[in-house]
Amino acid sequence: MKIIEVRNLRKQYPKHLAVEDVSFEVAESEIFGILGPNGAGKTTAVECVAGLRQRDGGTIRVAGLDPREDRDELRRVLGMQLQSAAMPDKIKVWEAMDLYASFYPDPADWRELLERVGLSAKRDAMFKDLSGGQRQRLSVALALVGRPRVAVLDELTTGLDPQARRDTWELVEQVRETGVTIVLVTHFMEEAERLCDRLALIDAGKVVATDTPAGFIAQAGGEQRVRFRPSARFDDAVLLALPEVRTVTRNGESVVVSGSGNLAPAVTLALAHHQVVPGDLRIEQATLDDAFLALTGRKLS
């Protein structure tokens, strides 16, 4: 049973077609990523799923509910963190949590939730005095206070510094451990690679492909490169004989081996047979960026 099913979603704005044809399914308690460049229609698509916008075509089911027909019920099972939605300047953190908890029939204990997102020390701070990272964490807490089964997180880490971004990623992983299904909208490849179990690549209002991050990378050609400095001389043929290896090039002291499959283990094993230790070993893999490039002919960012 899929908790979210989207088929042939279409959304037309007065001036442009934001979502042309988007379909995907999300299984219970997975982190599903929606990755694509700015303006690809990601936000519009999830806003239709969350019932914030009316779709023009296609079907959507969230926990069996239609966002168009069952607005109120949907809001009890789906929490959403919006891209850049603030709170009143002078509301205190605890007041915001207490207020939002009162909107739901069976809310979570907001004190515990604040603890979980690491904002307990800030409970009496006003919203305007929070840092960007703290606001995002409050935003996640507000999205979770109604005990949703699905949480939609839209551009959660945009505008955060690297440390705050990593903290937020940890928070998302913790949330998933509590069994909440997460839909993560992002244009950060690194974020999608680290967090998502599966993801849909969206470009120009259409799903280009849906796969696991590893699957995408394999699909991108799976080209990998292993770079190292050998401890002793060896013959290129030793490596070229391996089925995983495509080319071997030498660059002064260092050797670059390119190929696919389990390239790194195969290379190190073969070298070990010849008593060669690969020093400064580095593995360079294709990324989601390469996958996006391969699928659309354009760069993600």
């Binding site: 809001r75 919006l82 939605a85 603030a86 709170m87 009143p88 207490d98 207020l99 507000l142």
Partner: protein, 242 residues
Amino acid sequence: MKLLVMEAKLHLRDWPSLLFTIGLPVGLLIVLGVSIPSFTEVQDGGQRIVDTHMPSTMVLLALLTLSCSVLPAVLATYRQQGVLRRMSTTPVHPARLLGVQLLINLAVGTVSTVILILAGWLAFGSAPPQAWAWFILVFLLGTAALLAIGLVIAALAPSAKSAPGIGSVVMFPLMFLGGMWVPREIMPDPLRAISDFSVAGPFTQALKDTWAGQPPQLMHMVVVAAGLVLFGGLAVRSFRWE
């Protein structure tokens, strides 16, 4: 209920606005009443200016400040910052927040009016509104109409920053037509004719009439009610949540 308490708290935290909606009208009534001798002299109609004209226009000042400045600024900010949108992700519709804001502005306007009545009585021995039941009706109807104008301003303001500016463009002509600077009695006929249809004009006149113990003129009530229907309808049609 929690939403009402929270928004009321937030309104009080922005206490400087209370200086304009409560402090300024009462301050003007007392300062002008004490310092301008003619304000405390009996006029042709048997009333002193501090008895009915001055407090009525001060009620108008408080209500116009609330509806043209305070309410649109808060709502446009809430819209721009995404407060309304965030609320629309919860089971509680953001229209509830709008309703709560209207209630709070009505409450502040009521407090301001009660203080004006008390201050006039204490400082000048002015009588409270004589036709009090009519007065309350006029007050509620007029406040509703002015708040509806405020909602339209909030709906049309393109950003939080522009809301107070647009508000004052509406507010000052309405103050003028309401007789704040030139009492309606001494307005030239064409100007008074315009004033008669300005919502603020008939509203102030009806406040004055009921304050003095007469029922309001039917035409005045009709114009104010029509303003409420017109601007209320416009607000409903044009309000944007994002």
